[in-house]
């Protein structure tokens, strides 16, 4: 349980060890129970129980009106979520992978993100889109992208990207309760990861707060989503093999971005490596680098370093794919280089 998470006293206490996937399901279940306006739409979310089984059992419990199977029509049902949200509902749209969200990009960027401001604050768009990013399973160029930076660069949208089961539950609940459109970026490799998850149905992880996932003094790694999992492993190895104390800041939210927590860490360590699964060019690490040099100009002892996916569409062949992804070895090498080691 992180220090920054809010907890109201609602009776249920304690935690339970569960997978990221189960934590998401718990969040959905609790919010469906809490708020009649919440309903789910997506491909294979009902009878098939979800492409990645996040919604398993929910149709049995809540029925096919609230757990609504859709045809393969991303633009249609994401747009329908925009309309339903404007009409007072709280839709949660599941998109099978972030790659398919591109089909609905017009509804996300030109519609959902614009509703509140374009209509002068007269109507809002409280909707959630859940979708996994990530490569690493040889799914090739059209199914392996981490495109969250595209959405995080869009005013009007909020974007969160949990890296742990606890945050998966807490951030999804925050997203559903939020009055704006929120993209919840999940991640294929993390679905099976386990962790302790608070059982309190009022537990939420606030949007806009980063988490120091690992304390350290020599250097800071800033990351999100699966890059945080990789970075924590790299940090452990660097401690064991090089006696280095690496701090890992898990962003959790990309928009809004918690620059304060990042800057406080860099002010302490004076060196920073930004790690992301996506392409660094014009990416999350690009945004971080710009903000860090501004906030920490006098603190930096080395240029801001970045690690991300090689700037190629992800290839199929296993050896090429591994070479393209930001693996632990590349994170370690970047940390050592930034420390002049």
């Amino acid at each position: 349980m992180s220090a920054t998470a809010e907890r109201a006293d609602a009776g249920t206490t304690g935690t339970q060890r569960m997978t990221y996937r189960e934590a998401l399901r718990l969040a959905l279940r609790e919010e469906l129970q809490r708020d009649e306006r919440v309903f789910i739409m997506g491909e294979e979310v009902g009878v098939f129980e979800g492409s990645y089984k996040v919604t398993a059992g929910l149709m049995d419990e809540f029925g096919s009106e609230r757990i609504r199977d859709t045809p393969i029509s991303e633009e249609g049902f994401v747009g329908a979520a925009v309309g339903a949200a404007m009409g007072g509902e709280r839709p949660v749209a599941e998109i099978m992978t972030i790659n398919f969200l591109l089909v609905a990009m017009d509804q996300v960027v030109n519609h959902a993100a614009k509703v509140r401001t374009m209509f002068g604050g007269e109507v809002g768009c409280p909707m959630v889109i859940r979708t996994p990013n990530g490569g690493g399973n040889q799914l090739t160029a059209q199914h392996s992208q981490s495109l969250e930076a595209w959405f995080a660069g869009t005013p009007g949208l909020k974007v969160v990207a949990p890296a742990t089961p606890e945050d998966a539950k807490g951030l999804l609940k925050s997203a559903i309760r939020d009055d704006d459109p929120v993209l919840v970026v999940e991640n294929l490799p993390i679905y099976k990861e386990k962790g302790e998850v608070p059982l309190d149905p009022e537990f939420v992880t606030p949007i806009g707060l980063a988490n120091v996932a690992r304390g350290g003094t020599d250097i800071t790694i800033v990351s999100h989503s699966f890059a945080t999992v990789r970075s924590l492993k790299a940090a452990e190895k660097l401690a064991a093999e090089h006696d280095l104390s690496v701090e890992v800041v898990d962003l959790r939210s990309l928009r809004p971005l918690d620059v304060e927590t990042v800057a406080a860490s860099v002010a302490k360590t004076n060196r920073v490596v930004c790690v992301e699964e996506g392409w660094p060019s014009y990416g999350v690490s690009a945004e971080l680098a710009a903000r860090i040099q501004k906030a920490c100009f006098d603190d930096l002892d080395a240029p801001v370093e970045r690690v991300g996916m090689a700037e190629v569409p992800l290839p199929y062949a296993k050896n090429l794919e591994l070479a393209a992804l930001p693996g632990e070895d590349r994170i370690q090498a970047a940390v050592l280089a930034t420390l002049d080691q």
């Binding site: 492409s51 040889q138 199914h143 490596v273 199929y316 590349r330």
Partner: protein, 355 residues
């Protein structure tokens, strides 16, 4: 208006050849599943077992200069179009001798020489692309046609409606081949489509649409031959819906029984397209020994393809950034410094992008 030999006039030799190709696809898919489970194949692997008559029938009516575009369930189409089992299997293995040099894998087979412009991975994404290929044929004055394969799940995408409208409006020579195997992933046609007679949707664009039994090779040959001829000669697009069934799940990872019953699968297997052609050949005087010999030869051929794929080298990691852009673009990126999406290993791996 029929150009293809009427079903009855298919020579025994032709029918035997088509039988052989159907068996090749079936054996290849079975072997693909085995190799996937042996972790030689990764990623997604969508099998087309059960759909051989539709696949082989349509492709047989294509001329050498016609163009083929498909979705991601494309092993069968590649093989039917004449891509060697070696090149397909090597692609599934992610090897250098694969038809996409190990870059694309199962969903992104292609063979430009044979006019096969790709397996595509985003549902319905290939429809506008196929429409554009048809436009290119027209602009270059070629009297050829495009076959655009899609699944029943693709017909509810905006790209379907937009592509059909363009093709009809501009009179483009494209036949949209809807392979209706009953399920888009785990969702039946009835649960996904307000108009489950998918071919009827063509009429919204004043386009010809029709439906045939996709497990009846001769029915497929007749309809496909006729519609492709019309497309080539009269620039009339069409929708051809072939009713078939996939025996396996959506992909190898899906057992395929969460949304349909074992009984249904067994029942559909009674109408097996390969068994039907085999019976026809037997009626025509082909002996069981002869047919078994064909089957045995195919088994060997597929085993050879596996051997070939296994022996083919992995792509070289130093070529990771190859072909991201056209030759000659390197200069444009040369001042972007390390991390630029081009060229040599150092450019890709320096600056924290690699060790």
């Amino acid at each position: 208006m029929t150009t293809m030999p009427a079903p009855a006039t298919l020579s025994p030799a032709q029918l035997r050849e088509l039988y052989e190709r159907m068996v090749l696809i079936r054996v290849f898919e079975t072997e693909s599943e085995r190799q996937y489970k042996a972790a030689k194949i990764g990623g997604y692997c969508h099998l087309s077992s059960g759909q051989e008559a539709a696949t082989v029938g349509v492709v047989h009516t294509m001329q050498p200069d016609d163009v083929l575009v498909t979705g991601y369930r494309c092993h069968g189409f590649a093989l039917a179009r004449g891509v060697s089992p070696e090149a397909v299997m090597a692609e599934l293995f992610g090897r250098r001798d694969g038809c996409a040099h190990g870059r694309g894998g199962s969903m992104h087979l292609l063979d430009v020489e044979r006019g096969f412009y790709g397996g595509w991975g985003i549902v319905a994404g290939q429809l506008p692309v196929a429409t554009g290929l048809a436009l290119a044929l027209v602009r270059r004055g070629k009297e050829q046609a495009v076959v655009c394969e899609l699944g029943d799940g693709a017909v509810n995408m905006g790209a379907w409606h937009e592509s059909l409208n363009l093709a009809a409006l501009w009179r483009l020579p494209v036949v949209f081949l809807v392979v209706n195997n009953g399920y888009g992933m785990g969702t039946s046609v009835a649960r996904a489509s307000a108009e489950p007679d998918l071919y009827k949707r063509a009429s919204a664009f004043r386009m010809h649409g029709e439906r045939v039994d996709g497990d009846d090779l001769e029915a497929v040959l007749e309809a496909s031959g006729r519609l492709l001829k019309r497309a080539r000669e009269e620039r009339e697009p069409a929708v051809l819906e072939v009713l078939t069934y996939r025996y396996r799940g959506h992909s190898v990872a899906d057992a395929g029984l969460a949304y349909r019953t074992k009984e249904e699968v067994t029942e559909r297997m009674q109408q097996d397209p390969i068994v039907r052609v085999r019976a026809k050949l037997r009626d025509g005087g082909c002996s069981d020994d002869e047919l078994d010999a064909i089957d045995a030869r195919i088994d060997e051929r597929v085993a050879e393809a596996v051997k070939f794929a296994d022996a083919s080298p992995e792509p070289d990691v130093s070529e990771l950034a190859r072909n991201v852009y056209a030759p000659g673009s390197a200069g444009q990126f040369s001042r972007m410094r390390p991390g630029s999406p081009f060229g040599e290993e150092t450019l890709v791996f320096d600056a924290g992008l690699g060790s």
